[in-house]
């Protein structure tokens, strides 16, 4: 497969691509969930989750490496045969679309709760998706450029959170293993989901320049930075809110920022939320991109541009339906299962399969 110039990205851009795909809505609620599951050891759980993700990244990389010029959608048929491969590809597309829809729906919920109480939900969804469409229909290089630059918002978010340490109380952390190691590891399982997004590797791996080792390094560094960022935010919240208060607040990060103010700006949380919009939009754009590459592969001879509009429409419908909390719960449960399936189990099987079939083809040759 020839990769046109406009679709090629550097390894640095690849790293930021991974970063932007990973940071999404989860960051706001993560500290709350971690505290509920692992008490003062929540930050350790986040680190453990990061390690697990690292292992998954290696697996995905091992799989991608075998097909250095194929995306997920073009190498699936090579492993499993044409029919099954195409069906699996469609399943992956469904997974990507559902992920985008869920993030979008969580996003609309938080914005509706914190900033725009009176704005109709569909208008917000539409605004977000139109911006994403405008980005995603571009070549990969353009998307990567934006992802690099919008990553700087993460630095500002870290700086804003640092203000929290003015009223930190480190004793809240102790005893660290209050919840027991079992719970800490269980919590790590929970922390896997805010970290999803590294799946983008499966789709953009062939477009990255350079050797496979460098690509693995880029993805790993990206993941590491994000895990550190998440751990930092969880840690910050754990030392600021007492264990008694934490269960009552679902978005501790925002509550924390609401608490302090500068001379001119009284509501830091609004500032934080505004920056967070960049992060969420890029995450949605990333999922949308993955899905439209797939759809483009199957229906438009590789032109993902043509698939963007209806892919976004599907995401819009998915997000619109999920206004009901029971439906968003359903999405969440589906996603959790399919995450293990599509990102851990299936790639492992594919990897084994491709090793075996390679051996076989080597033997017959």
């Amino acid at each position: 497969m020839m990769i046109p110039e406009q679709s090629r990205i550097t390894q640095g851009q690849f790293m930021f691509f991974v970063i932007q795909s990973q940071v999404g809505v989860g960051i706001l609620t993560l500290p709350h969930k971690m505290q509920a599951a692992a008490k003062g050891g929540g930050w350790i759980s986040t680190l453990i989750a990061g390690l697990i993700v690292q292992v998954i990244i290696v697996i995905l990389w091992g799989l991608c490496r075998r097909f250095p010029s194929d995306t997920l959608f073009s190498f699936l048929p090579k492993i499993t045969g044409k029919l099954l491969g195409s069906l699996l590809g469609l399943a992956y597309i469904g997974y990507f679309l559902l992920s985008a829809g869920t993030i979008l729906s969580f996003f609309a919920e938080i914005v509706g709760k914190w900033v725009l109480q009176a704005t109709p939900r569909w208008a917000l969804l539409l605004l977000t998706l139109l911006t994403c469409i405008y980005l995603v229909k571009e070549p990969l290089q353009v998307i990567a450029r934006l992802f690099v630059i919008s990553s700087f918002t993460i630095i500002v978010m870290v700086l804003l959170s640092l203000f929290g340490y003015a009223n930190a109380n480190f004793t809240y952390l102790f005893p660290i293993t209050d919840a027991g190691w079992g719970n800490i590891i269980k919590a790590a399982n929970e922390a896997l989901f805010p970290l999803v997004g590294y799946e983008v590797m499966l789709v953009i791996y062939p477009f990255v320049e350079g050797k496979s080792g460098g690509k693995l390094k880029a993805a790993s560094v990206g993941n590491m930075l994000i895990v550190l960022f998440y751990t930092f935010e969880v840690f910050t919240n754990l030392v600021i809110f007492s264990p008694a208060i934490m269960p009552a607040i679902s978005e501790p990060l925002l509550y924390m920022l609401k608490g302090f103010s500068f001379q001119i700006i009284q509501r830091i949380d609004l500032l934080f939320l505004s920056l967070w919009i960049f992060i969420v939009s890029t995450a949605i754009a990333s999922w949308l991109y993955m899905a439209s590459v797939g759809l483009g592969h199957f229906f438009h001879r590789g032109e993902h541009k043509k698939a963007v509009f209806y892919a976004a429409f599907i995401v819009f419908i998915l997000a619109l339906l999920s206004e009901d909390p029971s439906i968003i719960d359903l999405y969440d449960r589906i996603l959790k299962t399919s995450h293990y399936l599509f990102v851990v189990v299936l790639p492992l099987i594919f990897l084994l399969f491709s090793y075996l079939s390679k051996k076989r083809s080597a033997l017959t040759r």
Partner: protein, 489 residues
């Protein structure tokens, strides 16, 4: 179609007269040369009659031996055997010499040069630095550039565009710096222009730019030779056109519109500070009204309590929502600005009084607009005028309108999406193979030295990478006296 020059003077004369439709400024003078009857034909409006006298008639009267081309002292003389080419030569200011019984006509370049003197461009003033500017004369403009780069690598290529107007253009570039692909691309785009009439460089810019639907200017206009030269030395190309003082510089990045020669003439700290101020005002020029609308309409709690009371008490007297107020004032501002350009400077003061006092003060007294809004609009206007390029200044104010609408609909969230949209647009823009928002997107840390701030000149060892110059390194050890051994770092 070629028509041979007839041996009969009368026939030639009639042909030329017919071709120029007996235009009244077509003049004739009979001459004698070695006993041959001859005619000098010229357009009195375009030819310099003193030069005709000195360079053609005088030598002819002296009646020396030799052929015509030897005798005539003019630098520019060609033989033409094709009669049909002569009318075109005449309208370019040449003088045509015809001789009885000769199959060739002589075209002598004696065009008159009426041009204004070189003066500082009014809309691109600088405090320090050169005070000369381009004028409406191609050769003079070329002179101004060549004088600054006395280097055989500076190449000028002439073009003629406009099938009727035949506008002359010159494409300038440094042979050893400009990327050959870029030169080729510009060349092919200039050649491809098919148009009756290309009146101004604005036409050329619109015909060759990459994204005609973008709000951002992608080609830099300048009337300053030093600016043109600086860009040439970075490996960009410059297009000069006859009869217009604006030079087109391409490809440029967004940040080129916020740089001025002043940055390099003042000390680097001062230059950096001013540049930061300018970029900051780019942001305020479209963001402030939107922010105001969002804060007042959606999130007043973001402001300190005392300020909320002041602002609210002022707003409560106004019957309109902030968005209407903002549009009203912004449009008034644009009208005032436009009126200011058209009016002669003596009447201009009136505009100041009407605009500043009557509108600014009375509109608030009448309760139509609130005080904070007047401040916001004034701030917007001033910060947009900071931009050194008129194109980007107007573009930034226009950008404010969609953002205001977004702010009125979605508050801060709307503004952020607007900004994201803008950022995506800037990522997408490319002009002549160069990313428009380089070196920020795609990020190139080395080039940031001369983007938001200006590092000391001696630390800018490399040219900016965005026009893909042939040679990146531009200096090393410029402060050589500090190093004993310049060979090692």
């Amino acid at each position: 179609m070629k028509i041979d020059v007839s041996p009969s003077l009368q026939e030639n004369k009639e042909y030329i007269q017919n071709q120029l439709f007996h235009s009244s400024d077509l003049k004739w003078r009979s001459i004698q040369f070695h006993q041959l009857e001859g005619l000098i034909v010229f357009l009195e409006s375009l030819s310099d009659q003193q030069r005709i006298q000195k360079e053609i008639i005088q030598p002819l009267e002296e009646n020396k031996e030799g052929t015509l081309d030897k005798i005539i002292t003019s630098v520019n003389i060609t033989r033409k055997s094709d009669l049909s080419q002569l009318p075109q030569a005449l309208v370019q200011g040449n003088c045509v010499l015809l001789l009885e019984g000769t199959a060739d006509a002589f075209v002598v370049g004696v065009a008159a040069d009426y041009k204004r003197s070189i003066s500082e461009p009014v809309n691109e003033g600088v405090i320090r630095g050169a005070h000369d500017g381009f004028i409406e004369h191609l050769i003079t403009n070329l002179y101004l550039v060549r004088k600054r780069i006395e280097n055989p690598n500076l190449v000028a290529r002439y073009y003629q565009v406009g099938t009727e107007s035949k506008t002359k253009l010159a494409l300038l570039f440094m042979q050893n710096l400009a990327n050959p692909d870029l030169v080729k691309e510009v060349d092919s785009r200039l050649r491809s222009i098919v148009m009756d009439n290309t009146l101004s460089p604005g036409f050329i810019a619109e015909l060759i730019e990459d994204k005609p639907f973008s709000i951002f200017p992608q080609i830099l206009f300048t009337e300053r030779p030093d600016r043109a030269v600086a860009h040439l030395m970075e490996g960009r190309v410059v297009i000069l056109s006859d009869e217009d003082p604006s030079a087109l510089i391409l490809p440029v990045t967004f940040f080129a519109f916020y740089q001025t020669p002043d940055d390099y003439h003042s000390r680097w700290i001062v230059g950096s500070f001013l540049r930061l101020i300018r970029l900051f005002s780019f942001i305020t020029s479209f963001l402030v009204p939107a922010l105001y609308i969002a804060v007042v309409g959606f999130h007043p709690e973001i402001l300190p309590t005392d300020l909320i009371y002041t602002v609210k008490s002022s707003i409560d007297r106004v019957p309109f929502p902030p968005i209407v107020e903002a549009f009203l004032m912004q449009i008034t501002l644009e009208v005032l600005r436009e009126a200011g350009i058209r009016l002669p400077s003596r009447v201009g003061q009136t505009i100041g009084i009407v605009g500043g006092l009557v509108i600014g003060e009375s509109v608030v007294r009448a309760g139509l607009v609130s005080y904070p809004m007047v401040i916001v609009v004034a701030l917007t206007a001033i910060s947009s005028f900071v931009a050194p390029s008129n194109e980007i200044s107007t573009a930034s104010r226009i950008l404010g309108f969609p953002l205001m609408i977004l702010a009125a609909m979605f508050g801060l969230i709307g503004i952020m999406f607007g900004l994201l949209f803008l950022l995506i647009h800037l990522c997408k823009l490319e002009s002549f193979g160069t990313a428009y928002f380089a070196p920020v997107m795609p990020l190139r840390i080395k080039d940031l030295k001369d983007t938001f701030v200006r590092f000391p000149i001696w630390s800018l060892n490399q040219r900016p990478h965005d026009p893909h110059p042939k040679s990146v390194s531009q200096e090393r050890y410029s402060r050589g006296w500090e190093h004993d051994d310049p060979g090692t770092e």
